[in-house]
Symmetry: C2
Subunit: 255 residues, 2 copies
Amino acid sequence: MATFQERPAYVQIADDIRRQITDGALSAGDKLPSEQELMADYGVSRIVVRMAVEVLQNEGLVLKQQGRGTFVREQRPVRQRIMGDLYGKRPTSSPMKRAAEAQGRRSEWEYQSRRTTATKAIAERLNIAASDPVMRTNYRFFAGEEAVMLSTSYEPLALTEGTPIEQPEGGAVTGVVPRFDSIGLNITHVTEDVNARAPRPYEAEALDIAPGVPIMAIIRTYFVADRPVETCDIVVASDRYTLTYNVPIPPAEAD
Amino acid sequence: MATFQERPAYVQIADDIRRQITDGALSAGDKLPSEQELMADYGVSRIVVRMAVEVLQNEGLVLKQQGRGTFVREQRPVRQRIMGDLYGKRPTSSPMKRAAEAQGRRSEWEYQSRRTTATKAIAERLNIAASDPVMRTNYRFFAGEEAVMLSTSYEPLALTEGTPIEQPEGGAVTGVVPRFDSIGLNITHVTEDVNARAPRPYEAEALDIAPGVPIMAIIRTYFVADRPVETCDIVVASDRYTLTYNVPIPPAEAD
DNA sequence: GTGCTCTACTTGTCCTATCGAGTAGACAAG
DNA sequence: CTTGTCTACTCGATAGGACAAGTAGAGCAC
């Protein structure tokens, strides 16, 4: 019997509009027909066209604006965040500052540091005991007016307490590597665990993230040999940032 | 007058359920109340509870299943894809194979190679002329039964034509680095540009991606000094993979 | 010209309703 | 005990309607 299962109308309409976007019949900035027009064009009720357009918005292809209409989104992750691209040079400032300066932008950020104790998850990442004291710093990075990156860093106070770098910001030296260099802890490598997910509501608000745009969540940890000295949760909007990693391939060993 | 703008009912209901999930009142695998129950609980119509639950599904927090109910999703990116963690050893097989073997899984993949010409975008990445001949290979990688990664690689035929590695797969040597080693091109480094976005419909189907789960799109390019020799588009589901990068920090230069 | 209001158009929110389709458990038939 | 069927419950798709709220342009008052 195998009744041919017809695909839902809203899916077919979404497919049709998506094809127009990928084919270029509709390009970035163009206005889609209004809901009334789409209802007439496809001969369906309003809920169907709303579901179709919502599919496209969740795919990040269009942006609905109340009172104005629905518009094809621009696809443009303009900024780059570069890791492992130091060309053999040890950094003398923070990665954020370097990336901004490389693109001729002023870098600006807000921060708030606070003494606290490690949660279980943070303790595990720093290889310390849960409830050991840490310095937690919340950052908001800006490019011009808009916030582009959120970050929360954790440093074990066992390492920094009483040193000039106990406070991550406001001292003479900026950047994790130079700061730890200044107290004789020479960072050897950094790991980044990258994942993507939909933004939490407060992240969407803080970073002004459009519907349908996921965020990239980075867990970064600095090491001195095998000992973690700083770990950090970073959140960036995927429509504004591309993460770039440059990984050297070591030469073959001589046997 | 400043009429206090009450937030929409469906947003408030979504907030309430989200809070129950983050607080642990509802944990992974738990079933949410049915739409009928939620209608009664909150005193709203069905469309409102459906909109509320849809918000949560788009955030990746719950999964709706027709005929069964709505369930809190598990948050568990189990697999890791590790780059730059070679501990000084030049790889002798593909990264995919190494990651699978490190976790005790068999690695399996399908592929299809085809001679074609470079598109403008690919030509730019390989630093060749548009419409120069390239070998394109589509991959689907599996872990057990499920597909976990899609990949499309491009190699300039100007480099490989007539050599034993003209076909990326099926030869004696596997993995990009060993293959190019075998024809005397010693890869020096690899760059990866990472971005996140909602899956395209065919990607969602091929990788069996649940609603609300974004993908990570990686552009990987292998270089011999400054010359690109292979470039590749990789797509992985963000609920199954974490990308891990290990970046060495070079020692300070002696002045 | 400047500023205001009015209006038409757009999407947002929410309602009642109906039928379809997938699931799972109860239960009867074998 | 196994198998098939029936049924209650679940979410999916769609119709048609109402009013709210944001936008932009026309046109009027100054």
